[in-house]
């Protein structure tokens, strides 16, 4: 079993927890509603971005099937409320479903490397979208476009603040998970695999198992983030969940912040959610601009914002202090 050691200095933990607690007070502080929405989205994206960073940045697996995880978890939770399962069990259950799905996919996609893996994972959300258009596991046939489900039960009447706090906790947890994983044997193994899979294997690293664990963790947390998002929305449909727009947002957040850096997703999500607000009125142009930014960052500053920050001495000193 992979050894997982806690490598977190108390001061660093405080650096993560303090802002989270402060942000938690936002709903009570009477700030504009848009601030709450912004922070909510930030936390959700942070969790997803960290998970994608784990796959693409640290494991060399450019996964394009994140929407599959969040959609499955979301659908799991929402449909659960139709058959009497309370939303909070549905949340965890949805995340579990997503992890299981990742496990099932593993066998198929980990035979593929590089691009094959990416295209394979690109196809999966598409296929799921079609499945959920046709398949109505509960409830009768729905009229009109889309095949969505409304949230039912106590979840639908949940206080928005509760959901907000759940998102914050998840965002925090994702940062902690990243810190733990990267400094554990799992993280070391992933770095080795990313560098040179064959020599990692010949050193006794069980490459397949590493990838499966990573994929499952990523799936579960992404799924949970998605489920919380749909808990907030109160409604889920195939084109909102299994959409490549999620992939775009996650990629953009991670790349802008700095792929393969621990603090990158924080910066990236701050910028991406801000962009989302700024460009929302421009509709289609918003995604066009985001695509252009993605390409530009990748070409001009592949290490993103963190790459630029690292050129400054004060930043290096600050982050060196936080190393375990």
């Amino acid at each position: 079993m992979m050894g997982i050691k806690m490598h977190i200095k108390p001061t660093v933990l405080l650096a993560y927890i303090l802002p989270t607690v402060l942000l938690a007070f936002l709903p009570m502080a009477g700030v504009p509603r848009s601030w709450i929405i912004y922070t909510f989205l930030f936390a959700i994206y942070l969790a997803m971005s960290n998970m994608w960073n784990l796959l693409a940045g640290y494991s060399g697996l450019v996964s394009l099937c994140q929407p599959a995880f969040l959609g499955i978890a979301g659908y799991g939770m929402v449909i659960g409320t139709w058959i009497g399962i309370p939303w909070w069990i549905g949340l965890l259950g949805g995340a579990a479903l997503a992890a299981i799905f990742a496990l099932l996919l593993s066998n198929a996609v980990f035979r593929l490397t590089g691009v094959y893996f990416s295209i394979g994972t690109l196809v999966v959300p598409e296929a799921l979208r079609m499945v959920f258009y046709i398949w109505r596991p509960v409830g009768g046939a729905m009229q009109g476009a889309g095949a969505g489900y409304m949230l039912r039960g106590s979840g639908a009447t949940l206080l928005p603040s509760y959901v907000y706090w759940m998102a914050l906790i998840l965002g925090l947890a994702s940062m902690v998970i990243m810190r733990i994983v990267l400094r554990s044997n799992l993280g070391l193994g992933l770095a080795a695999v990313r560098d040179n899979e064959r020599s990692a294997a010949s050193c006794g690293v069980n490459v397949f198992r590493l990838k499966v664990y990573t994929f499952m963790i990523s799936g579960a947390v992404t799924g949970l983030a998605g489920a919380i998002y749909f808990l907030n929305m109160g409604y889920i449909e195939p084109s909102a969940s299994f959409s490549v727009k999620w992939t775009m947002a996650i990629l953009l957040a991670t790349v802008i912040g700095g792929i393969r850096t621990e603090e990158g997703p924080i910066f990236g999500c701050i910028v991406t959610v801000a962009l989302y607000f700024l460009l929302a009125r421009y509709g289609g142009y918003s995604f066009l601009i985001q695509g252009v930014i993605l390409i530009a960052i990748m070409l001009l500053s592949p290490q993103g914002i963190v790459g630029l920050l690292r050129k400054m001495k004060w930043y290096c000193k600050l982050t060196a202090y936080s190393e375990g």
Partner: protein
């Protein structure tokens, strides 16, 4: 959905296969020469479809004749993509080409969406609506055109790669870039031309796809998946294999529409492609 007449879906599947093979050509070439799978390939094909649509609706020119315009435009786009995006991406890191291609894919999708709205479009000329009759059964003329065009383009490409100095240079660079450089091949420029030629085939594919099926700005993902599936089934590096791959996928689609209904056909196609990826990524004919 009767079970009496298999001839129709089978013939349609084979003809469709020609078009699918044509769609896959560009992807196969870029991968063979540059070792990069262009995630934006499907969207570039759709871009060409919209280009031909524009030629028809704005210039009033027949889209096949309009290829005189769309082909050079797509060729230049291909050269620019390789020169300014892909060649740089490869030097940055392993995930850079994928991410940049993904970004490009979304830029094209949304540009198309802004220009043409999400409304589904089709390229309809007089003859594209016509049918022909074989053994007392009716078939759309477009399918026949697709098949013929597919075969013709593949033959032309094969001769080009074998008989011209540039074509041989492209083949050689695909086989062994270092040895090619020692022969005096300017491999950088070969990459430009390879991408450009891939885009020429995308222009033709896009035009005929647009005449055969309605398309939207998001059709690119479907075209990419089909092209990729075709290339995988046929095995990389084999033109004949790509053709067989296209026919197999065409048959899968038409037969599943026949037995399971129109809604299921794309889903079955996707599942088959995922299955092949999972269990036999080297393809049915590959080396």
């Amino acid at each position: 959905m009767g079970h009496g007449d298999l001839f129709t879906p089978i013939l349609m599947g084979v003809m469709l296969g020609g078009l699918y093979a044509l769609t896959a050509l560009g992807l196969s070439m870029v991968f063979g020469v540059m070792r990069v799978i262009n995630l934006a390939h499907g969207d570039l094909v759709v871009l060409a479809s919209y280009g031909s649509y524009a030629v028809l609706t704005i210039l009033g020119l027949d889209p096949v004749l309009g290829l005189v315009i769309t082909i050079p435009v797509m060729f230049v786009i291909g050269v620019l993509i390789q020169k300014y995006l892909m060649s740089k991406a490869v030097t940055i890191g392993a995930e850079a080409p994928l991410i940049i291609a993904f970004g490009l894919s979304l830029v094209i999708q949304n540009a198309n969406q802004i220009m043409w709205t999400p409304l589904s479009r089709g390229i309809n000329t007089g003859y594209s609506q016509a049918s022909f009759y074989l053994f007392h059964r009716q078939f759309p003329m477009t399918y026949l055109m697709d098949f013929v065009v597919g075969i013709v383009v593949m033959l032309v490409l094969r001769e080009f790669l074998r008989r011209t100095y540039m074509g041989r240079a492209i083949s050689a660079t695909a086989m062994d870039p270092r040895a090619s450089r020692l022969m005096g091949v300017n491999t950088k420029r070969i990459y430009y031309y390879a991408f450009g030629i891939a885009m020429i085939s995308a222009a033709i594919a896009g035009t005929f796809l647009g005449m055969t099926f309605p398309f939207t700005p998001t059709s690119g993902t479907t075209f990419l998946t089909i092209a990729f599936g075709t290339v995988i089934i046929g095995g990389l590096g084999s033109l004949a294999g790509t053709f067989m791959g296209g026919i197999i996928l065409g048959l899968v689609q038409t037969l599943s529409a026949y037995f399971l209904g129109a809604n299921a056909q794309m889903l079955v196609l996707y599942v088959v492609i995922i299955a092949i990826l999972a269990f036999r990524p080297q393809g049915l004919f590959g080396r």
